[in-house]
Symmetry: C2
Subunit: 433 residues, 2 copies
């Protein structure tokens, strides 16, 4: 494959004032990385004809490929076509294909083709059109000084489609790569990025670099991505992927085929498919678990009642927790969460339940039960599990983590998974039951 010098030229006053953060260039870089192409240099300038023209001229002398992003719109600020024409020493003229695109685009929207729109058909003479499947502004390309220059729209969703459908294939041609790139994605719970990286290098040290591993944190889940080319032998690839999956086991929450899903969504699906209902008895999470479950459409089939019992009084009054239990063992204790769970199950009539009581902090900790201590009970009337975890960190982090852990524990309970999850090994080594 040919190694290219690739540069990006981003244009827009709003990029220079800091009014918007540029995510387009990261998107382009990421897409190009997937086909093995790296960006050498990125220039960002305001909408200024002289500056743009000078940059285009200069970059065209240094590089093989220049992607210009922005400045294709209908307003007088949008100067990319003009700047490219100046740099190439070409006149601007109405491009018949661009005009046709605009006419169709307006007709579909029952809109009249305005003078402002018509400006978008005025392009450097002889340039090629790059299709924009959703926006009014076509992309266009031209070669100057042996540098292929492709002009793209600033609207992120238009850019994304154009890069994926039009530009990436062109760049693959440029580098002489006829392979196809595939990505396998899965959602993992219980490992952070560095922990998972470490696990893979420890347990699968020979992992081939052609199966490129990537991560995307989307708390509390981690998205694990394996990107590979069709040029890599498929039987070898399948063997490695199988090893990876058996290494992660039930920490894989979901294999992404369509879109990522949340833990709460996964739990709702399992409840629905097993025709089960769930209830929650929450102290330290204060309704967060219930709220995550009910953020999923259709949750009303699976979740009828939840209890937020913040005070001891309310634990007794709403959930029938024995006052002597609270006095003897305290609110944050195994006995209390067991009684909370039993109370919630009995009152709600749900088959499954989660109960939590802990110290979210930042105050309220003791030597014996520091901030971050939480007792969790989960299960059904006949199989009731408990665990004590220590989750230090901010109040917010504690609540989110307890919520995610309980959702994963109930997921594992429904799926009848017996292994101890990684997070309990770390957080509750003495208490696994």
């Amino acid at each position: 494959m040919t190694k290219l010098n690739v540069q990006l030229l981003m244009t827009g006053n709003e990029l220079m004032t800091g009014d918007i953060v540029d995510s387009n260039s990261a998107f382009i870089a990421n897409e190009f990385k997937n086909i093995g192409v790296t960006i050498t240099r990125k220039i960002t300038v305001a909408d200024d004809l002289a500056i743009l023209t000078a940059e285009i001229s200069q970059i065209s002398q240094q590089s093989d490929l220049l992607i210009i992003n922005g400045g294709l719109g209908p307003t007088t600020d949008d100067l990319t076509a003009q700047a490219l024409a100046s740099a190439a020493n070409l006149p601007i003229e109405e491009h018949p294909n661009a005009l046709e695109h605009l006419t169709t685009w307006c007709a579909k929207r029952n809109a009249k083709l305005s003078a402002a729109n018509l400006k978008q058909a005025l392009l450097p003479k002889g340039c090629d059109i790059v299709a924009n499947s959703i926006g009014s502004a076509v992309g266009f390309s031209l070669t100057i000084n042996n540098c292929l220059i492709i002009c793209t729209p600033g609207v992120p969703k238009e850019l994304k489609l154009m890069v994926r459908d039009e530009i990436t294939p062109t760049v693959k041609n440029l580098i002489g790569d006829s392979s196809q790139i595939f990505t396998k994605r899965m959602q993992v719970f219980g490992y952070g990025e560095s922990g998972l990286q470490q696990l893979i290098s420890d347990k699968l040290p020979q992992w081939p670099e052609q199966l490129e591993i990537g991560f995307r944190a989307s708390m509390p889940l981690l998205e694990l991505k394996v990107t590979y080319s069709s040029a890599f032998p498929s039987d070898e690839r399948d063997l490695w992927l199988a090893q990876l999956e058996s290494l992660l086991e039930h920490h894989i929450v979901h294999h992404i085929t369509n879109r990522p899903i949340s833990l709460a969504e996964q739990v709702n699906q399992l409840l629905s498919s097993n025709n089960l209902t769930l209830t929650t008895a929450e102290s330290c999470t204060g309704g967060l678990i219930a709220s995550q479950i009910t953020q999923v459409s259709g949750a009303s089939q699976n979740f009828h009642a939840g209890f937020v019992t913040y005070s001891n009084d309310m634990k007794s009054k709403l959930l029938n927790v024995n006052k002597t239990t609270l006095e003897e063992y305290g609110a944050v204790s195994e006995h209390t969460v067991i009684e909370m769970l039993k109370g919630a199950l009995a009152i709600s009539g749900a088959e499954l339940g989660i109960a939590v009581s802990g110290i979210a902090g930042p105050t309220g900790g003791t030597d014996d039960k520091p901030v971050g201590t939480v007792w969790i009970a989960w299960g059904n009337h006949t199989h009731l599990n408990t665990v004590e975890c220590l989750i230090p960190g901010t109040r917010w982090y504690f609540q989110q983590a307890v919520c995610a852990i309980t959702l994963d524990l109930i997921r594992r309970f429904i799926l009848n998974i017996k292994d101890t999850p990684r997070y309990l090994v770390d957080r509750a080594p003495k208490h696994i039951k």
Copy 2:
């Protein structure tokens, strides 16, 4: 004031691969905009010594001020000091002030000064130190070709403090501006950005442009910022600000002196200072209101119990809602939310309560009660208010909006505010009671 040519040079492999989106440059641009300085050009390159050196040399010949961001860390990838020294034709040497900073920094953390850390004290001979109040890497500056070059850390929070405390004053000196810039910030609930912009131009058409108005959306609140120079007459300024405040009235939730606060935080503060407790009876929000209240540290004093009653059965069983009420008026009705509220108040013993029942969607709507319909009841035993709102949108948006509205309604209730808030005028014109 002198007009400067200012350029940014961003360095980092992670910026070129698209693994992270650069928000630092937008931050710098925004801060500079506040003092009337615009960025002319921004270059982003990978951590490559030759490329960095060439860019620094070239930019120093074009511009008056160059801010370099990134590459100050302890690893071998971090090449900014070396590149600057090369461009300036100066040796690298241990800078005594940088060493002192590192020593103190390590001592505070009980850490040993490592060889990697020590690298951060190796700077171009004769450069000036720019203080980093929180991180290990000091900034540094040097003038080449009459261009002042300031090197800053890539860690966003370190950069922010350095720009605010050290660099902005330096740049103000450069442009010969002795005025001071102040910002008044307030949090508003009930207006979107465009609505508020429209309101101000309608009602205060003569608003002076020297009092620059800016917005920052932080759903569900909108942060309204008025930025002005000390050069603007203070009596005139105070008059305009007073007019703005009286225009917005009780839609101003909080005047920011220290940090923005959430609606739930505001409600908790009011409950504490009035020695009141609150309870919630939630159907369509499924625990979200309780969870937001209890995300605030100290909420246990103000919130003892919350009820998530998703099914009709549970509304009756947990909150004593009459079965005939549910049959006759339905779950989403004024009668039902009143009984939910009364039940929650009676059982929990709280002085104040919020009850909601609605159709979060996307399914479950009818012609009579479309998706987005919600009945809200709030108040205490003797003063009980109700309203029906229509909040179309996604399930997520509906739940968040209902939650924010109820928190604002209870805030207004505690403060004894009688005006009708803007959002009820829009969302519930027929039902304001």
